[in-house]
Amino acid sequence: MLDFNFHLEDGELLGLIGPNGAGKTTVFNLITGVYKPDEGNIVFSGRDITGLAPYTICQKGIARTFQNIRLFKDISVLDNVRIALHKDAPYGLLKTLLRTPGFFRGEIQMDKQAREYLQIFSLEDKADEIASSLPYGEQRRLEIARALATKPTLLILDEPAAGMNPKETRELMDLIRWIRKDFGLSILLIEHDMSLVMGVCERIYVLDYGQVIAEGLPEEIRRNKRVIEAYLGEEVG
Amino acid sequence: MRVSRKLVLLVLMLFALGVLAGCSSKQEGGDKAGGDKAAVETIPVGINVELSGDLASYGSNSRNGMVLAIEEINQAGGVLGKELKAIERDCQSKPDEAMNNSAALVGEKVIAQLGPLTSGAVAGSTPVMMQNKTPLIAPAATAENVTVEEKTGKTLDYIFRVCYLDADQAKRMAEFALNDLKVKNAVIFGSTSDDYAKGLAKYFEEAFIAGGGEIVAKEGYVNGDKDFKATLTKLRSKNPEFIYVPGYYTEVALLIKQARDLDIKVPIGGGDGWDSPDMVKVAGVEALNNTYFANHYSVEDPSPTISSFVKAYEAKYKKLPDSFAALGYDSAKILAQAINDAGEADPAKVAQALAQIKDFPGITGTMSINEKHNPVKKIVVIEYKDGKLVSR
């Protein structure tokens, strides 16, 4: 259903847009290993990651958020982030069961790291709250914090601004730019909110019926006829 | 939602109340024999049998026999001028529960424990009874090692039984098949999920081969099975002259019926697990012709002791007693005699008296307790003939 070809430069902030059902989320699912492509390859940092299990792909440096938030609902905000830190857990199973001093050092270290991530997203005060009790916008931010905690080199954001008000969206835009600079990573973004995409993305792919119909700088996309027909027409026009 | 939850509670409470009411009224009925004269001193007797779980139907029959015996004893003036008081527990067909119950019963200072039925559950109770020097009378535990220590073969001082051993009844049946029915080969098709039937199968095979016969096939079923046709179809092709079916009547009756349905006409034999009025009802008169089983007694025996027992049991429980009921009855009666012999209600003394019992006239035969605490008594072979039990 998808015939798709695109690339992403190191440190780039790339946008992916397209009308509903264009296959944007499917692209994300293919990259992160949730679905396996029928043919073709996915190459990341020079290595073929096609068909790998999602957790391996994550360990190789790709992290994502979800269109319909998928937090670990019944546990604390802090634990949500700490789970993302687990792949680099600083102690082994034996130390865990025996509670050696190394375990406590590791726990303190993880705790500190997790709180740092929360701080970035101004969630440090909510560390002990249950994830599902947060307001919507904060849940979105927590999801990004969690994804960031896996220390990715590529961060994939699936409609991060969905359900946010304009003010929150503006703050999010600043945050995304800042994250990219500060953590030195590439970001791939799916978004409906045009102002966000046009505002932060350096390059944009437009997807329709599983095909790339346009590619270029935000300005070029804005003027592209096919794009306007397929998608922007109603909204911008 | 709230309303429906309240409804739930209401309905459940009603159920619980109904059950409790039913139960207490039942107990009243049960205790009547002793209840009228509350002032009379009582001797507590523990009944620890299978009232739930796989063996519930056998356990409850045995319990009925015990309770009937205790009532009769009390009506006849009790023992040593005191009445026997039954304390019932359900061992759920599990060894650990049997043990737990024994501990509770010993805590209530029972003079002895009657039950459980199966050898496994008795083995669970045994250590507690031994430690507390309180006798246990097993009505129907037929395995070899019930009354002796597993490793040393030493007789256990406080464990007794009133039934014969599996080895003896299997041997009796093997000899009967070889000598009376004059068969030369046999197949064994018994339950493999309980030790009782498995033991019988083993002993039968040994005795049958020792007597010059040949076992042409061995098959098994699992307790609770209802369909035996697959295996019977297979056995039919072996053309056996005799089929030995060790197991309980719940399965055996169906098995015989299905065998006859499949036109297997050869004689079929088994052990005391067969004994039940249900055999004829389930298998049918015709199917049961040419079947034989070793048993403790015959419910149609005309002797006055047996017929009065059968009548009393039928009057109280509206059904005929099976072997388990008779053995339960005997275990309570033999206990009463031992208490009388001992002259005082002391568990250890009663155990000594039990070991000395000679020629006790039980429903299941006249028995004497031997040095291994097993009863020495006759084993009858019963033939089903047109729905009637004929002793052979």
């Binding site: 789970i83 896996t150 | 739930v8 650990d96 501990a103 030790d195």
Partner: protein, 322 residues
């Protein structure tokens, strides 16, 4: 952040309380004040606690519905008894054999079946439990359906109490760690967990093996307390009994599992005085508790976190769950 003490005061208090309980009971047993009946129920309580806490790791924390716990208990019981009774080795060797055998069985069963989800996993584990029972029933070396009799009673109060605490501590230690959080994330959202770099299959198997291992331990203790084991003791209804304890206590609450194990053991003992309607009352109580408290007695909350979770002094922080 406050610098933690290596041995905080709360830990010392817990150790004192536990030691106190232990000594008191030990005194009552030695002096003969606690009769056989109470001793049996106390022992059954310890065994039930181990079973419930270990099943809770699989069903409550990992969120994988397993209905085959009695099977692992059986493997442990038989392994231990073969070592101690048939080969006359020491109890410690028997316990080790039990854990090893049950853990191995957990691994062999867990690896293929844990790919299944929900009810399919439930029926597959139930099936394996029954297969274990049927196999045991057909091995004459270990007594077939009659089982093994004359097992020495090695499970004394110090063993039972010690190993119960050991089980709770180990499982609480596991849960309150990064590994435990990984295990809980599988329950919360398997897909998200996988995408956060967690090899969910590994953690499911890990929890399953540890759960099985402790079930085996409980089996060994059971066998060496009740003198006799037979395959029919470990049928699927036994697995249901353990599951009932876990759900009554509250899935994902070790405290709940412990409390429910104590409660159910006492309830069963108390109901014995009504032999005829024991099971009816038990069923009614079960339904009423579930209808009124479907989340179990404890939900997924914990009590006495200080008591067990941080035997070597853990800092004050919320558990992985509420």
């Amino acid at each position: 952040m406050e610098k933690k003490r290596f041995v905080p005061r709360s830990f010392l208090i817990e150790v004192l309380v536990l030691a106190g309980i232990f000594t008191l009971v030990q005194y009552l047993i030695v002096s003969g004040l606690l009769n056989e009946y109470y001793q049996i129920n106390l022992s059954a309580m310890c065994i039930n606690i181990i079973l419930a806490v270990s099943l809770n790791l699989i069903n409550g924390f990992t969120g994988q519905l397993s209905l085959g716990h009695a099977g692992f208990m059986a493997v442990g019981a038989y392994a231990a008894v073969v070592v101690t009774t048939i080969y006359s080795q020491s109890f410690i060797l028997g316990l080790l054999a039990a854990c090893l055998a049950a853990g191995l069985a957990g691994l062999i069963i867990g690896v293929p079946t844990l790919r299944l989800k929900g009810d399919y996993l439930a029926i597959a584990t139930l099936g394996f439990g029954e297969i274990i029972r049927v196999i045991l029933q057909n091995i004459d070396f270990i007594g077939g359906p009659a089982g093994i009799l004359g097992i020495p009673r090695y499970s004394t109060w110090p063993w039972l109490f010690g190993l119960t605490i050991f089980t709770i501590v180990i499982i609480a230690n596991l849960i309150n760690s990064s590994y435990g959080r990984a295990i809980i994330s599988v329950r919360e959202d398997e897909v998200a967990s996988e995408l956060m770099g967690i090899n969910t299959t590994n953690y499911k198997v890990l929890a399953f093996v540890i759960g099985a291992l402790f079930a085996g331990l409980a089996g060994a203790l059971y066998a060496h307390y009740f003198y006799i084991i037979k395959p029919s003791t470990f049928n699927f209804l036994k697995s249901f009994d353990i599951l009932v304890i876990v759900v009554l206590g509250g899935l994902g609450s070790t405290t709940g599992a412990v409390i429910a194990a104590i409660f159910v053991t006492m309830l069963t003992a108390a109901l014995q005085t009504f032999p005829a309607i024991r099971m009816v009352l038990y069923a009614v109580i079960l339904v009423v508790v579930m209808v009124y408290r479907p989340q179990g007695l404890m939900g997924n909350k914990e009590w006495g976190r200080r008591t067990f979770g941080r035997i070597w002094g853990e800092k004050n922080e919320p558990l992985a769950n509420k």
